[in-house]
Amino acid sequence: MEEQIIEQLKNSGLLGRSGSNFPVWKKWEAVMKASSPRKFVICNASEGEPLVEKDSFILENHLSDVVEGLKLAMQTIKATSGYIYLNSSFYQKHKQKLIDLIGDLPIELFQKPEGYLAGEETSILNAIEGKRVKPRVKPPYPIEKGLWGEPTLINNVETLYWISKIANEEYQNKRFYCIAGEAPNLGTFELLETYSIEQILKETKNYPNFPFFLQVGGGGAGEILLANELQQPIKGLASIIIFDREKTEPIALMKKWAEFLINENCDQCTPCREGIYRINEILQKTPLDKETLQEIFAVLEKTSLCPFGRTAYKPFKTTLEKLL
């Protein structure tokens, strides 16, 4: 039965919906095959990316399916116990319903500490273990040494939702898209994963009738796309933020991101701690020192300790290249 669900996941081609794009079956198989007496599953319901509310939508409308996905994961990998790791607003909102759905299963609700980085998967492990909330050095990966050093499967809310659909043979290669910003018809929409960004905007009646640009992949780490770049599907986090090109000052926008990142990063590694600080410093001066900015983008992308740092350069780099 376990082999069967792995096979189903493999055939579905489901990729991690947190934006990681990692084949879900590979993680499952690795944890399933690990021979440790203790194993854990964590449902990551921390959704902390600015202006992204798709997990919020899923929890609101499909809570029982998410729990089904979690139960399935626990059965498949033979988990000792499971955790639902919720940001404080989700925790307040869904606590009672979740308790009812869980019944007497060994699943614990865990309220996420404050902070953007507390949603990063290895920070979650530290948070649950009661340690300082900061990303861990990888490898080892959570599937090898996760919670309390044991193999741990971490899946995001949306991933678990689709897994329950796959198990019931109701999966049609769709995903949830969250559209925000200067859009007439804001919200979360369920559409095919192969849709191009232009199709998504048109289908949801969000295609702007004014000059615009988009941030795709999250309000913190998403990249900037122009109107002529929308023939592609979204590979990472399915978030689209629409900006009015004439009303948006790119430098001010970058300063806002930089301030957010300075406050939210964990200050462990040099490129992220010092690099983002220097980006902000350079943004205060004219003319922009683009050469130094490019060097900082490179160390962020190639040498940061965690995925947060490795993607933090994206909005800046693409703004610099496309809007200035």
Binding site: Q268, T270, V299
Partner: protein, 562 residues
């Protein structure tokens, strides 16, 4: 064994080592800053980057295990460029104060800057207005030099002290002293900081102060452990024995007399052995704990006060020797004790705190005196010598002044963890008149944090432990809480490997260096005619002539901790 290639070179290595360790062992230098072999890899500086064939992202070699078949490159053009940017970013948060830095002759940042060719002034110092924070009378933390690697926090946590914490200020995590916990002044933050952000208090500014006592008889006394460590500051090999060069150099500095604290250690040994014998012969068994390490004493007082009563009352060697100099020796030489200024050269920053403790004062002819007036660390003395152009490597060696005779071998091994215990046992068995007593107790030697042994004395078994690192001491104290009879005697030194790994010792230091320093001390011991403090003829003479009754012994040799 595994086989891999680094920069095209085929290398065989043991399994379980990191790429950085394997590279180092094979003479391949990968730039690294936050790595310290005593600590877990932080992978925070992001300088030790390598590329591994078949793996998409660059990896930090300090945190990645070497695996069979890996093909590793450490110096690709991309890596070099990224490393340079990261190093420039690191420099931009580190305020260079090179003339006043503990690492000025051994700064990894500057070495790397030169090697990699970075622009030091590319960015303005982010931390230029960050404060200096003093930890009592022993340590100063210059937060403007900190690169946030967190090594100090781990070192402090390994010591089970956790005085250093992280506080978020204006979006940045900053290392800051705890408001509720107490620093024990061991100085392991100093020895594990890669950029010299920690130093002994007054490590530079007031260093010449002791030399300004022109109208006084200026006496320097140097600790057992520094004779095999200070050479490192003068580019001599690790563990080089420089006892007489040290004396020559200090004389050159202008000291009137130079004494060897190892002699004081013989007195400490004798008194502590008496305490040991007393416990041994008492009907109610109880625990005796060494007390010559001031950081350990403070650890007990702050974190395990219920054990304070178990601390030996015998004073540390330099305190006893200082007391003897200002009394016995002074009256023989017809010098008023008020005219004497004693400087202890110590491997330790906690000794700066120790001499401020009122328990260390002694009364002589109705007047209260401090046995020691000033403490310089090993590093500080080396700095002072260099400043005065005195080179230990070429100075003419001299013998220490020896009004109390030559130290025994016991007095020298005080510098290594287990040395105090071994010395006390050597003397205790003599006091008990045991025939053909053993002299060597190898089980309490070495770099292990907890060394356990048993000694048979007159049909009784003495369970002993020699411990280094207060984190290890915590483990043993917690066991003793459960089972008070587990040990009868424990020796604790707060620093790893004992005083040879002290917070005032030359930098850098790691397990290998500490091992060499310790081995050299045992080498001196082996070559001594007298290896037991009890056999030191001048010690016997001093007891006969001066330390004649309990009252005077108490005044000079003992302190009561409350």
């Amino acid at each position: 064994m595994i086989k891999l290639t680094i920069n095209g070179k085929i290398i065989e290595a043991e399994q379980g080592k990191t790429i950085l360790e394997v590279a180092k062992e094979n003479g391949i230098e990968i730039p690294s800053l936050c790595y310290h072999s005593d600590l877990t890899p932080k992978a925070s500086c992001r300088l030790c980057l390598v590329s591994i064939k078949g793996i998409k992202n660059l990896q930090t070699s300090c945190s990645t295990l070497a695996m069979d078949g890996m093909e590793i490159e450490t110096e690709t053009p991309e890596i070099k460029k990224l490393r340079k940017t990261n190093l420039e970013l690191l420099f931009a948060q580190h305020k260079e104060e090179c003339p006043d830095c503990v690492l000025q002759y051994n700064c990894q940042l500057l070495k790397l800057a030169k090697k990699i060719g970075v622009d030091l002034s590319r960015f303005e110092d982010r931390k230029k207005d960050f404060p200096l924070i003093e930890f009592g009378p022993s340590i100063v933390f210059d937060s403007s030099k900190c690169i946030d690697c967190g090594n100090c926090i781990e070192a402090c946590s390994q010591q089970a002290v956790n005085y250093l914490e992280i506080e978020n200020k204006k979006g940045f995590n900053q290392i800051t002293p705890s408001k509720t916990k107490s620093c024990i002044y061991c100085g392991q933050c100093i020895t594990h900081c890669p950029v010299g952000a920690f130093q002994a208090k007054s490590e530079f500014e007031q260093i010449e102060e002791p030399l300004n006592n022109k109208n006084k008889v200026l006496i320097f006394q140097f600790a057992p452990s520094i004779r095999t460590s200070i050479g490192e500051e003068f580019n001599l090999e690790d563990g080089k024995i420089v006892t007489n060069q040290l004396v020559g150099a200090i004389k050159e500095l202008g000291a009137d007399y130079v004494f060897d604290v190892s002699v004081g250690a013989d007195f400490t040994t004798f008194e502590e052995a008496k305490e040991m014998v007393e416990k041994l012969e008492s009907k109610t068994p109880s625990l005796l704990m060494s007390s010559c390490c001031p950081a350990w004493v403070r650890f007990v007082e702050k974190y395990y006060p219920e054990f304070t009563k178990n601390l030996a009352t015998t004073r540390p060697p330099h305190i006893i020797l200082g007391g003897l100099i200002k009394t016995y020796w002074a009256s023989k030489e017809k010098i008023s004790p008020k005219k004497i200024f004693i400087v202890s050269v110590m491997p330790c920053v906690a000794k700066k705190y120790e001499i401020t403790r009122k328990e260390m004062l002694f009364k002589h002819n109705g007047t209260s005196f401090a046995p020691v007036d000033y403490v310089l660390t090993t590093r500080e003395l080396a700095y002072l010598l260099k400043k005065k152009g005195i080179d230990l490597a070429t100075i003419k060696p001299q013998m220490a002044d020896s009004p109390f005779g030559e130290p025994s071998g016991s007095g020298v091994i005080y510098g290594a963890s287990g040395g105090v215990m071994e010395s006390a046992i050597r003397t205790a068995v003599k006091i008990l008149k045991i025939k053909n007593p053993k002299v060597d107790f190898p089980k309490v030697r070495g770099q292990e944090g907890i060394k356990i042994s048993q000694v048979e004395v007159n049909g009784k078994t003495l369970n002993i432990a020699a411990i280094s690192g207060t984190g290890n001491a915590k483990i043993v104290l917690d066991q003793l809480k459960q089972n008070p009879n587990l040990y009868q005697c424990i020796e604790v030194m707060a620093c790893p490997g004992g005083c040879i790994g002290g917070g005032g010792q030359p930098l850098p230091q790691d397990k290998k260096i500490r091992q060499k320093r310790a081995q050299a001390l045992y080498q001196i011991d082996e070559q001594k005619k007298d290896r037991t403090a009890y056999d030191n003829p001048d010690l016997q003479k001093t007891y006969k002539e001066f330390l004649k009754n309990e009252k005077i012994i108490k005044a000079i040799c003992h302190a009561k901790y409350k």
